[in-house]
Amino acid sequence: MYDLIGGQLVSTAFVVFVSGLLYQGSRFFKLTKKKEWILPPLAGAEKRVKKTVVQYIVAGLTSLQGTLWKTDPLMMIVTSVFHVCLILAPIFLLGHNMLLDQSWGLSLWSLPESFTNGLTIVVLICAAFFMMRRLFLARVRAITSFHDYFVLLIAVAPFLTGFLAYHQWFDYRIVMILHILAGELMLITIPFTKLGHMLFFFLYRFFIGSEYSFTRGNRTW
């Protein structure tokens, strides 16, 4: 059973993950068309004037006024830290890179295990924060359904089981099987659930022409 879960199922999960993202991406580009957008010039498009370091810092902080960093700074810090750790921890984990090296003969640079353990703890703390928001903040509770808790569980399960496996708490073999299954479930569900915002964040914010576009997005639905 371990061979099946840790072998064929892992490959299947990666194939579904990659092909699912490619499908969603190609559907997005098919559904949207290029259009001319008449927008005012971007702030950086004006002639650049040399600024001092202090001026840069002041300009940066001023630009945060009126953004989510001003209206909900705690959530912005937690969500930014959560997403960075969520991506860094599994990609640069020593154990994962050793497995990659064993199967494909190549691996990425690895972070020290104690550091990735710290990143995992940060992910778990941030997830607990999101859970508390869903439970106790009226405005979040008003739009929360069972599905939201389930998606949060899917995102957190690989980290929770990975943490338990690293510290060898409970039955290591069972925890490892659960960890692999949780990782596979997350990969498979990313393109087809709310977790798809991993891809759609970039598609919406960079390609769709909008006032809030990060770049001069010129596509429209």
Binding site: L31, L68, T71, L137, I143, T144, K194, F200, I208, Y212
Partner: protein
């Protein structure tokens, strides 16, 4: 009795309208993380004591979200409920901000179009407990 109450609801027409915009709207609805970060960008939310029903995501989920969930099989009472959400609780000022990039005004405008296709819209002489604007 006004014509608004007489005309039967054409669920096939609603279904067709929903299907025409499915690619965009379903994706917007599916990838909304339900984070509530859009709340503070809505002036109606802020001026109504932060009542969650004025939150952009709430308005979309309760109107267009439900229309898709029910696959257009709705009755007049349901559309009248939606009317309150998409006209009274939202003025389509376009100031709502979603960190993922979901365009809320286009969804509310689409829900309005569906209501309007069935002759459900605020009447000029309508008596309401609250102002429409």
């Amino acid at each position: 009795m006004s014509s608004q109450e007489i005309k039967p609801i054409d669920t096939e027409e609603i279904k067709e309208m929903l299907n025409r915009q499915k690619g965009k709207m379903k994706r917007y609805l599916s990838f909304c993380a339900h984070c509530s970060l859009c709340a503070e960008s809505c002036f109606l939310y802020r001026t109504h004591n932060k009542d969650p029903q004025y939150m952009p995501s709430y308005k979309v989920i309760q109107s267009l979200g439900k229309l898709y969930k029910k696959r257009g099989k709705v009755d007049r009472r349901f559309l009248i409920e939606i009317k309150g959400i998409v006209w009274r609780n939202c003025v389509l000022c376009g100031r709502c901000y979603c960190p993922i990039g979901i365009h809320v005004p286009s969804m509310i405008a689409f829900a309005r179009s569906i209501c309007r296709s069935q002759d459900v819209y605020p009447q000029i002489d309508e008596v309401s407990s609250e102002s429409w604007l």
